[in-house]
Amino acid sequence: MSGAVQHSTASSVSRFAIPSVATFSPSRRKWLGRLPYRNFGRYLSPLLMILCWQAACSTGLLSTRLVASPVQILGTGWTLVQDGTLSTNMGVSLLRAFAGLSLALVAGISLALISGLSRLGENIVDAPLQIFRTLPVLALVPLFILWFGIGETPKILLVALGSTFPIYLNLHKGIRSIDPKLLEMTRTLRLSRSQTIRDVILPGALPDLLVGVRFAVGISWLMLVVAEQVNADSGIGHMMMDAQDFLRTDIIFVGLAIYGLLGLISDQCVRVLEHRALVWRPLHIQRTGNIG
């Protein structure tokens, strides 16, 4: 973790120090351009906050029993990495998130295609989904425990259920808001229905789908936190609940940091995907200077 931070600082500083981007090889420049820390100034204020936090802990202003200091947290994090606790629990959490998200992708995309591509499908699928959408999914936890026990199933299903909705809603909206003029054009070109879906509707709805996926990734972590804290014998959430019993705020903070980092990294992955898939958008063309 500390390695990653150092690396990121180093590369943004070097990018800052050398004004001419021409000194980078094109592939390296592309790689850097995709990363979020092009604007180093943005990271000054969070850095300052951490420094103040550390100062408050060191001077005894904050009790380290209630709030562990950043240095303590880093140290604990390192210990947890070394004895394998962190990697085991993180592996379990990642697997749950991944499984739940995959289910949500399959369900959300299929349902959105059904209701987006046919009126009949919309009549059947859309209304129930809009009803379920308004339910706070977390309120289903007790039911899920009753139905599925306390194994992996309720946790994965909870993640899946929560993240299906943003995928469904955004893709459905994307399909429905395709420019009717483009659809008219495909009719004058005598494109078949399947060609129209493949070449016009799906690529046209892709930006919305990816927005949905980004929401879904965020929600999946949220779901996981709750699922792992209510009933679990492994995972980051479990690790944190365990630490609560022993007043180990440092471990709790490590867990928080891991959740945060996982959220950040997964969001970044979707962004990279967005960037790859939507190269045709003017925003992208502007950013990379790729005109034509």
Binding site: K181, L182, E184, M185, T186, R187, T188, L189, R190, L191, Q195, D199, V200, P203, G204, L206, L278, V279, W280, R281, P282, I285, I291, G292
Partner: protein
């Protein structure tokens, strides 16, 4: 038909490329937008369709292009037809050459490039549509129509959204393309000069009927300052209800 143009007289012996008989269309219970309209377009003939907004121009074009169903009357139209709209309607997620080839089975990138070169857009073959200027986008739309080798080409105010200089260039381009390919063309336009520069015949539509037909037998290339051009211009404007 009372037009006399050298081209048209040859063409009248043949089957017309497009024939519209008794076409009516109304929306709801209002007055008809098209009222028992008859129109023939000979093979290789360039017809300009003029009229005020709401005269039924777009409705006629939509019926001809198959976008609207024909309920009253008959239309016969070649299978190989293509439309260029006022907006280019390129798919932003496909490169220019892929847009040109859209729905054209068996065509390759080099076919697309050839047509793009013909419309002066060869250097933008691999560009994303959203990086094109308005004129370039319309050229790409023209290329997408041309690659289908249409026997009937419909142009729905294709230059209306372009700046004046670009429009002149595009009119030249269409004129030279038409002289090379000789497909039947129906150009819907508001622009009297445009009609006179390009067409063999101007048809003025009013309240869903043809109010006037004007043969334009000037030789190409045509010049705005040509006295015959000026004469035709004022005649046409009169038909459109504008007195100079």
């Amino acid at each position: 038909m009372n037009y006399i143009s050298p081209l048209a007289t040859v063409a009248t012996d043949l089957q017309p490329a497009v024939s519209v008989r008794g076409l009516s269309r109304r929306f709801g219970n209002g007055s008809p937008v098209l009222d028992k309209l008859n129109l023939d377009i000979a093979q290789g003939e360039f017809v300009a369709l003029l009229g005020r907004s709401g005269s039924g121009k777009s409705t006629l074009l939509r019926a001809l292009s198959g976008l609207d169903p024909v309920r009253e009357g008959q239309i016969s139209c070649p299978q190989e037809s293509a439309v260029v709209f006022q907006e280019s309607r390129l798919l932003p997620w496909k490169k220019v050459w892929q847009n040109v080839m859209l729905g054209k089975t068996g065509a390759t990138r080099s076919d697309a490039r050839k047509v793009l070169e013909e419309v002066g857009l060869g250097h933008r073959t691999d560009a994303w549509p959203l990086t094109l200027s308005g004129g370039e986008a319309q050229r790409a739309a023209l290329a997408r129509a041309l690659i289908r080798e249409p026997k009937f080409l419909m142009l729905d105010e294709p230059f209306a959204a372009l700046d004046a200089l670009t429009r002149l260039n595009m009119q030249d381009l269409v004129s030279s393309l038409w002289q090379r390919h000789k497909s039947a063309v129906l150009l819907v336009t508001h622009d009297v000069d445009e009609a006179l520069l390009l067409a063999d015949r101007a048809v003025v539509l009013e309240e869903g009927r043809i109010r006037a037909e004007l043969p334009i037998s000037l030789p190409h290339p045509r010049r705005h300052y040509d006295p015959a051009f000026v004469q035709l211009r004022s005649t046409l404007l009169k038909h459109l209800g504008v007195d100079e």
